[in-house]
Symmetry: C2
Subunit: 359 residues, 2 copies
């Protein structure tokens, strides 16, 4: 059961919600665009379905709608930014802008951010770099749901990495992925349908492999990319750890099992070693490495060659990272964005609570 | 069947071989240390077992023993380096040094390298940054053995990523991994023993899953980290692609299926779009982000917390990336390095051919 809405309708609604909790026009615009970029790109778990979750974080005082986002330490190519408990959607935008400014000056920029909140999809922030002919990088830590290899404890978030690489005749290369085998959103879909999941996505609280998609609610954990030791889960564990350290240990945010949870009803961890969630951003000017025209000629060639790679029988084509999301965006812009009944009901209650016009 | 040699014995032998092909004392020293760091750290597939392979590349003119390694393009935080067909072991060392120098000046350094050859283990170069209280990053492309998700063509190398993060009371965090489920060296071990491999490591030339470890010799391909689409092989494919683009498209090296092969008997690809193999290096001063003492306090805390995470029953401990290699190094320094008979025979022939003292 879905209802389809135009992007503009969802945008007006989202904007009015962010305004209502006290965001400035500028912040409400930035937050709405970032949040809805997930729905446009077909990553509905991270889009407007989370709007009421962000509002609940504001209600409990964990989100500050009027943050004073500022650089607290810097060198010519680096900065640490204090997000002042702002919406991650907004903090990430300004942080990526500061990262891009560094790259304009000295070739690359690298920014680690503390005292922030969930920032939506990583890809949206990495893609800010593209219009400047820069490679953009974005990552964030998140509340702990993932067990390291050989462990039964939830120590890491799904800690995504996004890398956006500009091209010219081809669309940009945009990789954006959780460092786990499956994102938690995929388990939630199966939970709603009461269906099993493949082996290798999650483990029970005792560390046993399972097909029960409800296992996370019962003390289980998601598995790092690779699933088990024989299939190199230690590599996914290392990747998730690198994201955690770059995002939170470099910045002074809270890391590992102490990362603050997204659901406002879950109490904050005890003895947090830092402030809020952490992010890490990078921007590299392509002409800091070689003349732009040379770079674009070869990245186009790279993409064309990979796109035309021979397929396994039964598969139509080899995808370039970002292809499915770009195609979803084109479709959703033309035909609107479908929302599940569960989501529209939640948004209807939100509208009532905040006294903003219904969707 | 193995024979054990002291590090010094292997070092003297390796040094004499590199000298004999025309390396300077300085280059022979650097190359020997880099090559043997693999044997010390227990990654024997990348160590002295490859020495005769490097010599064959020199014999065919693909390796220049006296390279003029130079920066051909730069900004305050970036450089592109032309390796002049030098040994990757040597080119990587100087490139990482240049990367570190950039970081001293502006907080971080980022170097893309073309016209190089295989550089041994990535971790060894990333670790150069540690003594400067910097995070080190190293990656390289390699000859194509890996099929993208949905493809039967070999388009990418095993394209490793290494990230070394300094700590104080704890040993450094050192992740160093191929972006495939299994490194090719693991398949070679099984081939020698005539044993099967687990499903999910490689596919046949038609793209079928298989346990036949000889499949690579018969037109098959290694699988990206994640193994299959259901277990997120598109993420491993994206990671391998990012390594390829950062190492070769940014620098002007040859990329994707055109990356030059390591075995000298395999002809070079036709219509190569760049020069030689490519590498990518990064260095970030920890105090470019926060005061050193704060960083070290929290990275030590991070490592201690993860090391003490609860284990799955039957597992003794949770590992920190770099633990197994550091323990191998301590063991090998004390008790010597065991070499397979096949390797010592190969080195004996090499000594004879080059007229250097036998091992």
């Amino acid at each position: 059961m879905t209802t389809t809405f135009s992007y503009n309708t969802l945008y007006q609604f989202t904007f009015s919600v962010f305004k209502k909790i006290g965001c400035s026009d500028e912040h409400a615009t930035i937050a709405s665009k970032a949040l809805l970029s997930a729905d446009l790109r077909g990553i509905e778990s991270h889009g407007i379905a989370r709007l009421s979750g962000y509002v609940r974080l504001w209600e409990t005082g964990r989100v500050n709608a009027n943050p004073d986002i500022k650089i607290i330490h810097e060198t010519p190519s680096t900065a640490v930014i204090d997000g002042d408990k702002g919406l991650g959607l907004v903090v990430a935008h300004y942080s990526m802008q500061a990262t891009i400014d560094k790259a304009k000056n000295v070739g690359t920029g690298w920014t680690s951010v503390k005292n922030s909140n969930h920032f939506g999809i990583a890809g949206c922030h990495a893609m800010q770099a593209l219009e400047h002919d820069m490679i953009g990088i974005a990552m964030t830590n998140a509340s702990a749901l993932v067990a390291p290899t050989f462990s039964i404890e939830r120590m890491l978030g799904t800690n995504p990495i996004a890398v956006a690489i500009p091209a010219k005749s081809q669309p940009a290369f945009v990789a954006d992925f959780a460092t786990t085998t499956a994102a938690n959103g995929k388990l939630e879909v199966l939970q709603r349908k009461n269906e099993d999941m493949p082996l290798g996505w999650a483990q029970t609280k005792d560390g046993k492999n399972t097909t029960n998609a409800n296992v996370i609610k019962n003390g289980g954990a998601l598995l790092p990319l690779g699933s088990d030791r024989e299939h190199a889960s230690h590599k996914g564990y290392a990747l998730g750890s690198i994201v955690d350290i770059f995002s939170a240990v470099l910045s002074g945010a809270s890391y590992g099992p102490w990362a603050p949870p997204f659901p406002a009803y879950i109490p904050m961890p005890q003895n947090m070693p830092g402030e809020g969630l952490g992010h890490f951003f990078g921007a590299m000017r392509v002409d800091a490495f070689r003349p732009k025209e040379d770079f674009f000629q070869h990245i186009d060639n790279w993409i064309e060659r990979f796109r035309s790679a021979k397929t396994v029988e039964g598969q139509e084509r080899v995808l370039i990272p970002g292809d499915p999301e770009r195609e979803a965006e084109a479709k959703h812009k033309e035909h609107g964005i479908p929302l599940l009944a569960k989501v529209t009901e939640d948004l209807s209650q939100l509208a009532e609570k905040l006294n903003v016009p219904q969707l």
